[in-house]
Symmetry: none
Subunit: 251 residues, 2 copies
């Protein structure tokens, strides 16, 4: 019989720091514009040398997630400022549309939702619920000022709940063109409170399905959610197109 060898991980320390920081950004705990802890503090807090911390941070700087400002600090770059991401760029040259992105997510995430419904731990469900509540309260308090990152964190939480390292890796690595690329458009979606309400409701359905361990319902709820977003943009774009046609004159 073929023994399953243990998956040893000889990770570099700086890579582990890198992962942690990237996670903070993707989960929204470090929002665009935020200043990250100074290198000296970080090295102290993590128990590693400043050299190692610097390597990790530099990596994030090169990837466009962070930005150095000597004498001032290191800051999280706004997504709009990092449209130069190689992947995002590659997609543009291929003429990818928002709908293309959502189509792929349809396949990936419906499957992921089903897997999550089977394997989510109590902790996973806890995280999902928190993410959901975060969105609900943000909606009630600020009205139309919802950060797209809250949306993304919900989907990333589902990814983690699948316990599938390939899926998790995929979502992390391609996060930029799976979410960031459409952040501006998401703002459009969130301009209308009715849409926020609908999205929150859809998220709740997904959450409940996962919490009840119902894979089919989870996949189905996710499908409805993504389809909703898809239809919104299809509709919105056609509307914008019509407006352009009707008002062809000056600004």
């Amino acid at each position: 019989m073929k023994t399953v060898l243990k998956p040893i991980k000889p990770k570099r320390v700086s890579d582990q720091v890198f992962e942690q920081l990237r996670e903070l950004i993707y989960r929204g705990e470090l929002k665009p514009g935020d200043q990250v802890m100074p290198e000296r503090e970080l090295s102290l807090a993590l128990g590693v040398s400043r050299t190692t911390v610097r390597n990790a941070i530099n990596k994030l700087v090169v990837l466009g997630l962070l930005e150095h400002q000597q004498g001032q600090g290191t800051f999280v770059r706004s997504p709009e400022a990092r449209d130069r991401h190689p992947l995002a760029l590659a997609l543009e040259t291929e003429g990818a549309t928002l709908e293309d992105l959502l189509e792929v997510r349809m396949g990936l995430e419906c499957n992921a939702a089903a897997l999550a419904a089977r394997r989510a731990t109590e902790d996973d469900i806890e995280v999902l619920q928190q993410s959901l509540e975060k969105m609900e309260t943000a909606f009630r308090h600020k009205g139309n000022n919802i950060e797209p990152v809250v949306d993304a964190s919900f989907h990333m939480a589902i990814a983690h709940a699948t316990k599938n390292p390939v899926h998790i890796h995929l979502m992390k690595h391609f996060h930029d063109f799976l979410f960031i690329g459409i952040k501006e458009n998401l703002r459009l979606l969130y301009e209308d409170p009715r849409n926020i309400d609908a999205v929150v409701e859809q998220h709740r359905s997904i959450f409940q399905a996962i919490a009840r361990r119902d894979p089919d319902m989870a996949a189905s709820a996710m499908r409805l959610h993504i389809r909703f977003v898809m239809l919104f943009f299809r509709d919105h774009h056609s509307k914008a197109f019509l407006e352009k046609v009707r008002a062809p004159v000056a600004v």
Copy 2:
């Protein structure tokens, strides 16, 4: 009058080193596969600290131009290899299994099959058919000597038929660790002619569904195919896995 001021250069030392090295690569003085001077030598030759040299090199590594090999040196990456390895390497350290990969493919490719059924052109269908026939004849002539690449090309053909640049892009990046990484295991699958026969049959089902423009059937056929491979690897030492897969499968 406003004179065009010189683009002042308050360059960081490490950036200057970075520029020099990048220039060497772009000008071809450092060709793919070449080893770059060890960090200690470089720092001596350039009259800067090793720290600075390392920063410059790390930047090039993140950008994919160089590649570290601890204990061995730092090498210039070939342009073709620049996109691939990071994913496959990262996955290994996370202990991803074959089943994890197939799970993700389940989501991606079932969706893709449905899309392909809707959008495939006559040319796409032609390519799919050729890929299918290639496998069939290879099976009849050489028996158990099927190259995994034939399998892969079928799936890539479906990806192209979706007309979704995001999916195509994803599959390209996926290809390396999705197919090449499991070459050995695929050989195992193809050792048994019955398996080849089954896989060919499954591919034919997928093809027919796409040719008949039946999205649901295409997705369903793809689901059966991937599940077959999944179950084979889950317990390929079991003689009776064929019976298991013939049994009703609810997904």
